[in-house]
């Protein structure tokens, strides 16, 4: 048995003679090609995602500028509706889902399972290349007759049937393409994790991000098709004047809501479970401690997958749901706090007593824990029917949601960029700019969204361009926060652009990490490893050996007695 150490990754033997997969361009051009390399596809997802992040951010800027004053003065009311619809759709379907699944999933999963690529490289490239046309379709819909869709990212009928048809149909087409991309990606992740593992690598030895992506992909495969079918029916209602969801023609709008939320509640987990996985990779490395409670982490991910599929109607407590349904969905939703809480305490226990390096990646990861637990608490509150009815369709929901997806997932995306940038490029990011970016983002984010809880509790409705003047002050605070968030992208952009050329050379493993993607060169060779893939059975084996307790084999005495007792 030969053993590897991080200095052993210099090329041994012949590098691959030509790039595999036929005629593939080299250099930066391959990022614009139909490349089959999972690392190229991952970075394609990442860069494309950031493009849409800045687009969606500009749209958010329009929203916050409009809301800085109580009257509708910055844009017309119709434009405001288009902007908020595009903001939601772009941020969810073109930024968070593709980046947190497609970008990091494609880059990392083959490393983690010890494979040279995903199970279906061609399908993988197809899945990515569905995204730019879908995004383009959404952007062009703004310029067509009647403008873009105005019915929000939920596209509830009858609103979506009565607003200008062309924009809504283009919106549906775009979301169908993105849904298809997501399903192809999900199939690929499931097949890669279950079927492509290196011989000798057991499921319970996989890095946690694999489990997160397995759970996420199960949700994608089970729920995204339901959204696709529903949107096809909705497009019939718009184009062919059928009456599936049109009450005037005998249809039923609540059926749309059920089908929509059957996808869109799990969609929250599709956006946040991968972030759980990423943060579980980042925390142990920068705290120099094993991930606490690996087994419970796995079971809580799978618990969230199962529970996540049976809680959708908590979005519909004001839609005439019968009492038994309210009871069931309240209880089921509240139960999700249990596996989520387990993960929260596991992360805290991972940090506890660690040699924490408070670098940019760690700052964003720790801020994720803080933001996410706050968003989680308001989530449990929203699951309670009486409270939900009080704040339904108010800014409280907006605040809760943004604490989950921005405070949760986007913070993890930034953390992950700081963490894996050395692997992507071979160069380090600037720490000072990184911490400055973190500070601006953290303050701006909380300034923007924390006041919205208060606004919602006091009854400010969401999705309207005008509001009661008594809400003006806190809206202005919120808009200042949004401005800070916008400014915070400057140090980030400068950092990633300049560091690509001027950054300190990172070396293969700057974090002294043990997960497999670090046990090769930075950036990695085309087929990930020159020679054999390493067999990593303890991806979290940090810290001195005597301090480690193997939880799988430990008895109660080991856990509670300790050596000193």
């Amino acid at each position: 048995m030969t053993l590897a150490s991080p200095t052993d990754f210099q090329p041994q033997g012949e590098p691959p003679a030509s790039s595999p997969g036929g005629l593939q361009p080299d250099g930066w051009l391959r990022y614009l090609s139909f490349s089959l390399d999972h690392k190229v596809i991952g970075l394609q997802y990442l860069v494309c995602g950031f493009f849409f992040y800045f687009l969606g951010g500009a749209l958010a800027g329009v929203i916050r500028t409009e809301l800085a004053s109580p009257i509708s003065d910055f844009v017309s009311r119709e434009t405001y509706n288009e902007v908020l619809t595009l903001h939601g759709t772009v941020m969810i379907f073109l930024w968070i889902v593709p980046v947190v699944n497609g970008a990091f999933g494609n880059y990392l999963i083959p490393f983690y399972v010890g494979a040279r690529d995903m199970a279906f490289p061609r399908l993988n490239a197809v899945a990515f290349w569905l995204i730019p046309p879908a995004g383009l379709l959404l952007i062009t819909s703004y310029f067509v007759q009647g403008g873009a869709a105005q019915s929000g990212w939920t596209a509830y009928p009858p609103l979506s049937i009565t607003t200008p048809a062309l924009g809504q149909v283009l919106w549906i087409l775009s979301v169908l393409l993105l849904g298809g991309s997501s399903i192809f990606g999900g199939i690929n992740f499931i097949a890669t994790i279950l079927k492509l593992r290196r011989p000798g690598l057991k499921m319970m030895q996989l890095p946690m991000y694999c489990w997160a992506m397995l759970g996420t992909s199960i949700l994608v495969v089970l729920s995204t098709p339901v959204l696709a079918g529903t949107l096809i029916l909705l497009s019939f209602d718009i184009i062919a004047h059928t009456g599936f969801f049109n009450p005037a023609l005998g249809g039923n709008v609540v059926v749309y809501q059920h089908l929509f939320w059957f996808y869109s509640h799990p969609a929250v987990y599709i956006m946040v479970l991968p972030a759980f996985g990423l943060v579980s990779e980042i925390l142990p490395i920068h705290a120099r401690k094993p991930l606490f409670g690996y087994t419970t982490m796995v079971y809580s991910i799978m618990g969230i997958v199962v529970l996540g599929l049976v809680v959708w109607a908590h979005h519909m407590f004001t839609s005439g749901t019968p009492p038994w349904m309210r009871l069931f969905f309240t209880i089921a939703t509240s139960f999700i706090a249990v596996p989520t809480g387990i993960k929260f305490f596991n992360w805290l226990a991972t940090l506890w007593g660690g040699k924490i390096a408070l670098n940019s990646a760690m700052l964003f990861a720790c801020a994720f824990i803080v933001n996410f637990v706050f968003g989680g608490i308001t989530g449990v509150a929203l699951a309670q029917v009486p409270f939900d009815i009080h704040v339904h369709d108010t800014y409280f929901v907006v605040a809760h949601f943004h604490y989950i997806v921005y405070g949760g997932t986007v913070f993890v995306i930034f953390s992950s960029v700081y963490h894996w940038y050395p692997k992507f490029t071979g160069r380090m990011l600037n720490e000072h700019l990184g911490r400055f970016h973190f500070l601006l983002t953290f303050i701006g984010f909380n300034l923007c969204f924390a006041p919205q809880h208060w606004l919602g509790l006091n009854g400010m409705p969401r999705r309207v361009a005008e509001y009661d003047p008594s809400f003006a002050t806190w809206n202005q605070v919120s808009s200042v926060g949004a401005l800070l968030m916008a400014i915070s992208s400057l140090p980030f952009l400068i950092n990633i652009l300049v560091s690509a050329y001027r950054g300190e050379i990172a070396g293969d493993n700057p974090w002294r990490a043990l997960t497999p993607e670090w046990l090769t060169t930075s950036p990695p060779p085309v087929e990930n490893w020159i020679g054999e893939a390493p067999l990593v059975t303890h991806p979290y084996g940090y810290g001195s050996a005597q301090d480690q307790i193997d939880l799988g084999a430990a008895t109660g005495r080991d856990l509670w007695g300790g050596p000193g007792l």
């Binding site: 048995m1 030969t2 053993l3 590897a4 150490s5 991080p6 595999p20 036929g22 089959l36 390399d37 010890g114 040279r116 690529d117 199970a119 279906f120 490289p121 061609r122 199939i187 097949a191 079927k195 492509l196 290196r198 011989p199 495969v221 089970l222 729920s223 098709p225 339901v226 079918g229 529903t230 029916l233 019939f236 062919a240 059928t242 009456g243 599936f244 005998g250 249809g251 039923n252 059926v255 089908l259 493993n509 002294r512 990490a513 043990l514 046990l519 087929e527 020679g531 054999e532 390493p534 067999l535 990593v536 059975t537 303890h538 084996g541 940090y542 810290g543 001195s544 050996a545 480690q548």
Partner: protein
Amino acid sequence: MTSLAPGNSDTETRDVVSTAAVAHAGHDHGGEHADARLFGLATFLVADGMTFAGFFAAYLTFRAVNPLPPGSNYELELVLPAINTMLLLVSSYTFHRAGRGLLRGDGPACRLWLLLTAALGAAFLAGQMVEYFHLPFGLTDNLFASTFYALTGFHGLHVTLGVICILIVWWQCRSGGRVAASTPFGLEAAELYWHFVDGIWVILFGILYLL
């Protein structure tokens, strides 16, 4: 056994990274795993099945809570759909025979069974067309009519795609073609898909015509 020590004592630990001398698990980059392909198709069929499940759920809810306007409670003609159901069930059997023929190395028999399967599928589609032309309602007449056409139409699309796939596999099964006893993936994939489409029809027939 030595341990991995990335330059610092705080990471000294047990056998962390070992490049075990396991036979190379490699596959050609760009080529796709033979065993993962059928698994991938099955996963896709789960997704496809969920689309149908969404449609079925919508249809059943509509039936339960949305009364149709008076005079629009149709008795669907049962004979033709029942014959169609038989055609599809028989075609699942003929496809199975085609697969056994291929594995036996009996190419001509395999291709004959495949042609028969495609013909049964085409006959099903023809029957569906005949039914469409004789129905007393159109797509937008009422909720039941719309749902009926959406469900049967979506399924018909699947059957059409299936027939095309069978004909492609029939072509690939010629001697020297891509599909052979040693490389049966194309046929196995088409067969799995075809059984899935038949299964969906049985459920659809049950809730649309019999319920």
